[in-house]
């Protein structure tokens, strides 16, 4: 099964990091086939930031998202730019304070005030990690511990606690959705 995920937001929101951590978790800690790419041109356009993750049980050939199974967006502009990339039965995941759904949406939508939660934790810089926890919880694609391990790979030790808290907030928010 090939799963295509697209992350989008603004530069500085850690969109690339979010995708990278999830991909690293899939590839190294869950042993899945996985490709991570980031769109450099989007960054160059000013402001926008996006990354893509393909996860599969088989060898991955085409490395880009054609129709996303999951679209994770943390800014209105990313929502506008990429909503057409989401497949008909795909899932939209948003930072509910940052993104307003503009058109009637028949697909599943999950929202979390990730930036606000991060702010309450004392640092908006971990909004992406809150979102990552939420995404992990909603999709259950990967083991929770795998994603936590990948966070530790990426983040300096002195920030592990903060990041773990952020991740868990996001994750339990997802658990409460059900």
């Amino acid at each position: 099964m090939r799963i295509e995920i697209k992350f989008g937001g603004l530069g500085g929101q850690g969109i690339i990091t979010m995708g990278f951590i999830f991909a690293n978790a899939a590839a190294i800690y869950d042993g899945k086939e996985c490709v991570f790419t980031q769109d450099y041109s989007a960054e160059a356009r000013g402001g926008a930031s996006t990354s893509e993750v393909i996860i599969s049980d088989e060898k991955i050939d085409y490395p880009h998202v054609t129709k996303a199974d999951y679209l994770v967006v943390m800014s209105q502009s990313a929502y506008r730019d990429y909503i057409d990339k989401l497949r008909n039965n795909g899932v939209l995941i948003i930072d509910s304070d940052m993104v307003k759904i503009e058109e009637e949406e028949k697909r599943k939508v999950y929202g979390i005030p990730a930036t606000k939660i991060a702010e309450n934790l004392g640092n908006t810089i971990v909004a992406n990690i809150v979102m990552l926890g939420f995404f992990t919880g909603i999709t259950k694609m990967l083991k929770k511990e795998s994603v936590m391990n990948a966070i530790r790979d990426r983040v300096p030790k002195k920030f592990w606690d903060l990041n773990e808290k952020a991740f868990n907030r996001g994750y339990s928010h997802a658990m409460h959705m059900e």
């Binding site: 990278f20 991909a23 690293n24 590839a27 190294i28 086939e33 996985c34 490709v35 991570f36 790419t37 980031q38 450099y40 041109s41 160059a44 991955i60 050939d61 085409y62 490395p63 880009h64 054609t66």
Partner: protein, 372 residues
């Protein structure tokens, strides 16, 4: 690097692959999308007693690695198309001096400054013919991050074995894309390293070939009193500016590669056995082609992919052996297409071109070969 699984970009894998293959000397100049190779080398080489230097430009970078090569180091530089344009002068020197080096070209959109962060495949002819003169060179091109790591061993081994520069093509897609890479145990890697032939007497004749047309290579500092020059030279290495010396030297420089082309050729034949349509492809682009082949097969179409891993010397026998319609999918206005035509022997050959910036989508490929 400890044996295990890593999540690496193509740039990191190229650097780590080179280190695994014994590279201990790197000179380079930053350029997108190859800069992360330099960054990785700057971090890693001194940890293992190797040398990294950032030079003033690409011309200096390649000159430095040719110098280092003569001391016996497995030496590498990495750049992108604009940098290769500058390096081509000394690619010729490495050819003429028969200095083993590996030059990575992370291809981006072209020509000129083009699309620095996005894929291009416009440097395929430049890789082969970029420096002036009549010469043969080896050009390899992986299509995954694992292969980017693994194939480095071949690049260095071929460079050392044939005393020739090896151009290692990747592209902006591979350079910045991350995949899982398995690093085998050190002993397993070590066993694969082919060391260069060195002469058994001092002083030697640095350009007197063995039967394989490759001369053993003396190293600096061991009393060989080496003389090497970019001028046409005799077997002692002394300039000999005559048609006779030219004939002997340049013919051998070409033939030493052609003679071994079957050892140098690497291709992937994917579902080509019964194919009536074969798509020739390489590098990042081949990942779209493979996807298209799988879709076509699901619909009962006999489509296959011939993926060139060795681009030069051109693996012509793998074109000649098939009776099928050929398609050449590449991110340029037709380069390898012309080589395929040269050997297609009456078979149809069609170009599937895109000017770069992104690889074809599988659907675009399918449309070009007549739909699924």
């Amino acid at each position: 690097m400890k044996s295990g699984y890593y999540f690496w970009s193509g740039d990191i894998a190229a650097a780590e692959g080179a280190i695994a293959a014994g590279c201990r000397f790197y000179a380079g100049y930053p350029i997108t999308p190859s800069s992360e190779i330099a960054e990785r080398m700057a971090l890693r080489l001194p940890q293992i007693g190797g040398k990294f230097i950032q030079m003033e430009d690409e011309i200096g970078s390649i000159a430095a690695i040719i110098g280092a090569s003569w001391t016996g180091e497995r030496a590498m530089t990495a750049t992108s198309g604009p940098g290769i344009s500058l390096m081509n002068e000394n690619i010729g020197l490495a050819i003429m001096m028969e200095a083993p080096i590996v030059v990575v070209n992370a291809m981006r959109g072209d020509p000129s400054t083009g699309l620095p962060t996005l894929i291009g495949q416009g440097d395929l002819m430049q890789a082969r013919y970029g420096s002036h003169g009549s010469y043969e060179i080896i050009v390899l091109y992986p299509n995954s991050i694992q292969e980017t790591f693994d194939l480095m061993m071949d690049a260095f081994n071929m460079a050392e074995k044939y005393r020739v520069p090896v151009m290692y093509l990747i592209d902006a897609l591979l350079a910045h894309m991350f995949e899982r890479v398995y690093v085998p145990p050190e002993e397993e890697i070590e066993r694969k390293i082919i060391r260069r032939k060195v002469p058994n007497k001092v002083p030697s004749r640095p350009f007197e070939p063995d039967d394989d047309l490759v001369p053993p290579m003396p190293l600096i500092g061991q009393g060989h009193k080496i003389h090497a020059t970019g001028l046409t030279h005799d077997e002692r290495g002394y300039p000999n500016l005559t048609p006779k010396a030219q004939e002997k030297l340049v013919r051998r420089l070409n033939e030493k590669i052609i003679k071994h082309e079957r050892e140098i050729w690497k291709v992937e034949e994917y579902k080509t056995e019964d194919a009536d349509k074969i798509i020739v492809s390489f590098g990042g682009e081949s990942r779209a082609v493979r996807n298209a082949v799988n879709s076509a097969r699901k619909n009962g179409k006999k489509v296959g992919m011939l993926r060139l891993i060795t681009l030069w010397p051109f693996p012509h026998e793998f074109i000649k052996k098939y009776t099928a319609d050929f398609y050449v999918a590449e991110l340029n206005y037709g380069q390898m297409y012309h080589k395929v035509r040269e050997y297609a022997d009456g078979n149809n050959v069609k170009l599937i071109a895109k000017m770069g910036g992104e690889i074809h989508t599988p659907n675009e490929i399918l449309k070009e070969i007549g739909g699924v």
